[in-house]
C-alpha cells in the first residue's frame, strides 16, 4: 500500500456468480449465500461520475471497500496524520462507501474468491468498513444491516469516522445533489401546474 491508485487493491477477478441491478438485492444475496469474494458496483448516476467500486465480503459480511472516485476535497477532518489525497483520486474504506452512495441505480456483479485471496485487503485498516455500513448507506436496508452486524466477528471494523461524515465533507457532491433536486422540482412543478407557485 504505497499511495493512491487502483493498483493498490489487488483482487483476483474470481468467479462471477451473480449479475444484477441493485445494491440491495446484491448485498442480500451475498449475505444469504455467505459469499466470500466481492461485489463490483457501478453507479448509473451521473453524480457518481460512473466510477466503479468494490465491496469485499468474508462469509457474507462486508469487510472492505474501494472506489475509483475520490471524495471531493481530498482530505478528511480529524485525520490529520493521513496524507492528503488528490482531487479525483481514489477512496477507501468508509470514504469509498460515501463515494458509492447516493441517489440513482447501480449495476452490481458478485464474484466468489478463496478467502486467502482477500487476506491482504482484509488486513489493511484503510480499506476496512463497519459490517452494517454497506447495507445502511448503499442499500438503505437497516434490517439487513442489523442481520449483518449480528453475524460479524467481534473484531470487525471499529473505526470512528463514518461513511456519512465522509459524504458530508464532499461539498461538491452535495451541491450537485441540490442542483439536481432543484431542477427536478422545477420541472415537476410545471408538469403539476404548480409553476406559478415557484419562487
Amino acid at each position: 500500500m504505497n499511495g493512491p491508485g487502483a493498483t493498490d487493491l489487488e483482487i483476483p477477478r474470481g468467479r462471477l456468480i451473480r449479475s444484477r441491478v441493485g445494491v440491495a438485492s446484491a448485498l442480500d444475496a451475498a449475505f444469504s449465500r455467505e459469499l466470500t469474494g466481492y461485489a463490483r458496483i457501478e453507479p448509473d448516476s451521473l453524480l457518481a461520475d460512473g466510477e466503479p467500486g468494490v465491496v469485499t465480503f468474508a462469509e457474507g459480511v462486508p469487510r472492505a471497500a474501494y472506489c475509483e472516485r475520490g471524495t471531493g476535497d481530498g482530505e478528511r477532518r480529524g485525520d490529520s496524520h493521513e496524507p492528503e489525497r488528490p482531487i479525483g483520486g481514489d477512496s477507501r474504506g468508509v470514504d469509498a462507501l460515501a463515494a458509492l452512495a447516493g441517489p440513482g441505480p447501480c449495476s452490481v456483479e458478485l464474484y466468489e474468491l478463496p478467502a486467502d485471496a482477500l487476506a491482504e485487503v482484509h488486513d489493511a485498516p484503510e480499506f476496512s468498513v463497519p459490517p452494517g455500513a454497506p447495507a445502511e448507506e448503499l442499500a438503505d436496508d437497516p434490517a439487513l444491516a442489523e442481520r449483518t452486524r449480528d453475524r460479524a466477528p467481534a473484531d470487525a471494523h471499529d473505526g470512528e469516522a463514518s461513511a456519512l461524515e465522509s459524504f458530508l465533507e464532499d461539498e461538491e457532491r452535495i451541491a450537485a445533489i441540490q442542483e439536481e433536486a432543484r431542477a427536478e422540482a422545477e420541472q415537476r412543478a410545471a408538469e403539476w401546474g404548480l409553476d406559478d407557485q415557484l419562487e
Binding site: 448507506e137 401546474g193 404548480l194
Partner: protein
C-alpha cells in the same frame, strides 16, 4: 399568531409521524397545536392516535362532493387538535388534493401552530402540496447517507416554492458519539439548526402499537425528552393569521388533469 410547518423526510421509515406528534405535544405546552395528516397516500396518523375508526377524516374533506365540515374531521386528543386522514384507496383516488389548501386555510384561522405530516415521497402533486402551503419545513432525518440525500432533496423542493427549513431532527440515532459531528456537519447544508437528536427507542415502537403518541405513552423516555428540547429550540415565527389564511386561499392551484 399562526405558523404552518410541514414535517417532511423524503423517505419512509424515519419516524416522521412519531416526530410530528411528539413535536406537536411538546409545542402544545405553550401553544394551540393542530396536526394534520397531509400524507394522504400513506396516511398513518390515525394508527398513532387511536383514531383508526374515526367517522370523518381529511379524506372526506377532500372529496369534491363532500358535505362534511372541516370541524367534523378535527378530534381533540392528547392536548392536540388532530385531523387524521382515512386509508381508503378508493377515496384517495377520488380525492381532489387541491382542496387541501381550503382545509388548511380554515384550520389556520383557529390555531397557533399547524403541523402538516407530509408525504415521504415527492412523486405527485398531492405529496408536494404541503411543502407549497407551509411557511417552513421541519426535516426529519436518520443519520444515514440515503436519508440525508433525500432530506436535501426535500429541502430543495420546498425552497423552490419559497418554503425554508425551520430545523432538522435526527431520529433513530444509535451512535451517540458520531451524531454530534454529523449534526454539526449537516447544519451547513440545511437552512435551519439541528433541533435535537432523538435516540433509537423501543418506546416509540411500543407507543405506535398502543395507538398513542410517544409523549403520552412514554413521557419520561429519553426520546420524549429529546423531542421537548427540539420544541424549545424551534424558533416559531409570529405571523398574522388572517394573512396566512388568505395566502392559503389565494394559492392558485389548478384542478388536476
Amino acid at each position: 399568531m399562526v405558523e404552518a410547518l410541514a414535517v417532511a423526510s423524503g423517505k419512509g421509515g424515519v419516524g416522521k409521524t412519531t416526530s410530528t406528534l411528539a413535536l406537536g405535544m411538546a409545542l402544545a405546552a405553550d401553544h394551540d397545536v393542530t396536526v394534520v395528516d397531509a400524507d394522504t397516500g400513506m396516511a398513518n396518523l390515525c394508527f398513532h392516535t387511536g383514531l383508526a375508526d374515526a367517522d370523518t377524516t381529511l379524506q372526506d374533506l377532500l372529496l369534491a362532493d363532500s358535505d362534511a365540515a372541516v370541524e367534523d374531521a378535527v378530534y381533540d386528543r392528547f392536548g392536540l387538535s388532530l385531523v387524521p386522514c382515512g386509508t381508503s384507496l378508493a377515496a384517495f383516488r377520488e380525492a381532489d388534493p387541491t382542496r387541501l389548501r381550503a382545509v388548511v386555510a380554515e384550520l389556520a384561522a383557529d390555531t397557533d401552530v399547524l403541523l402538516l405530516d407530509s408525504a415521504a415521497a415527492l412523486g405527485s402533486q398531492s405529496a408536494v402540496l404541503p411543502l407549497v402551503l407551509a411557511d417552513r419545513t421541519v426535516v426529519v432525518l436518520q443519520p444515514t447517507i440515503p436519508s440525508l440525500s433525500d432530506g436535501l432533496k426535500v429541502q430543495e423542493y420546498a425552497r423552490s416554492y419559497g418554503t425554508e427549513t425551520a430545523g432538522v431532527l435526527f431520529n433513530r440515532v444509535q451512535d451517540d458519539e458520531a451524531i454530534d459531528r454529523v449534526a454539526e456537519q449537516a447544519e451547513q447544508y440545511f437552512g435551519g439548526p439541528t433541533l435535537a437528536t432523538i435516540p433509537e427507542s423501543d418506546a416509540a415502537r411500543a407507543a405506535r402499537r398502543a395507538g398513542e403518541p410517544l409523549l403520552a405513552y412514554a413521557p419520561d423516555s429519553a426520546a420524549a425528552a429529546a423531542y421537548r428540547r427540539a420544541a424549545d429550540r424551534l424558533d416559531l415565527q409570529d405571523r398574522d393569521e388572517d394573512a396566512v389564511a388568505d395566502r392559503f386561499r389565494s394559492a392558485v392551484i389548478p384542478e388536476p388533469p
